[in-house]
Amino acid sequence: MKRLRFILAAGLALATPLAPLAAQDSLPPAPYAYRQLPDPAQEAKAQALMETLRCLKCQSQSIADSDASMAGDMRNEVRTRIAAGEDPEAIRQWLIERYGDYVSYTPQVKPLTWPLFAAPAVFLGLAALLLRGRFRRARHLRKDKA
């Protein structure tokens, strides 16, 4: 019993000073940071887009996942633009214009990135060529044996 109490106390002592370390603002979140759009179709569009946009504060999270206040402000920006009838891809381009491709999790086809998209086709082609050679040789060998 004594030991249990000690463990509890130690746990509390460790946990308490962690809270106020991070610098955070104290303003309430932006209007559309945590509120969905009234139109479900628009909200679905906004959600799909937000899941593919990077939070610049917590860089391995999407803005849909992050609780950073900047991610909240970005969600507010995305939702208000969708509500105003803007196309999701146009919003993505708007952000890429400001933060570069890094802000988008969905890869963009560009002069620099097209080899990434072409590589699978090139490798498949190469493999087909190689296999064709091997099969032919195998057939020759079998014929020689026979």
């Binding site: 603002d25 610049l56 504060k57 402000d73 507010n76 060529l129 190689l130």
Partner: protein
């Protein structure tokens, strides 16, 4: 066709070593990625573009608010993105004062800040700003591709963003920023 792909008679020279070479290259890439210093800064790709239209209400009682129109005409200005709740913003305050003393005109955008917090911050760290806009939704910050506080932008007299400084301005950054301001005059 089959001859060109893998010559059966010849000794397997390059073909034998190629996988090892490829693996060596991959290993070198991994090591390079491991020893390269970590960099999480996201540079704005909005440099060279005119500052987008915005109009912010004043964030402090004794300074006017800020709009994009105020960057057009006159001379190049500094746009400092900051907040009272941000630690490094207090660190750079003496460097901002130094820049102001050297003749730089500085406008501030306070991100998600409360008026009383900001007043306390300015009283403690000095107020080098000509104008301070209150940005509760990080609108201006997102609009110019800034991803954190503090960041400082050099904006020329045509309202075009010419340079971005990410993070607190340290003493050694002051001459660089003054130089960028001078360059922005051309």
């Amino acid at each position: 066709m089959s001859e060109t792909v893998s010559p059966p008679a010849k000794k397997p020279g390059l073909a034998l070593w190629l996988p090892l070479l490829l693996f060596g290259g991959f290993l070198a890439l991994v090591v390079y990625g491991l020893v390269r210093p970590d960099n999480r800064e996201v540079a704005s790709t909005f440099i060279g573009k005119p500052i987008p239209a915005f109009s912010l209400p004043p964030a402090s009682a004794d300074r006017p608010g800020l709009s994009n129109a105020q960057f057009v005409g006159g001379k190049p200005r500094l746009l400092n993105i900051f907040a009272s709740w941000c630690g490094p913003c207090a660190i750079e305050s003496s460097q901002l004062a130094q820049l102001a003393k050297a003749g730089a005109e500085i406008d501030g955008v306070a991100i998600r800040d409360r008026k009383d917090d900001l007043a306390r911050f300015l009283a403690a760290n000095g107020n080098p700003f000509a104008r301070i806009g209150q940005d509760d939704l990080s609108k201006v910050q997102i609009g110019i591709g800034s991803s954190g506080v503090p960041e400082t932008f050099v904006v020329d007299a045509h309202g075009v963003i010419r340079h971005q400084h990410i993070g607190a301005i340290m003493p050694e950054d002051v001459p660089v920023i003054l130089q960028k301001l001078k360059e922005a005059e051309q």
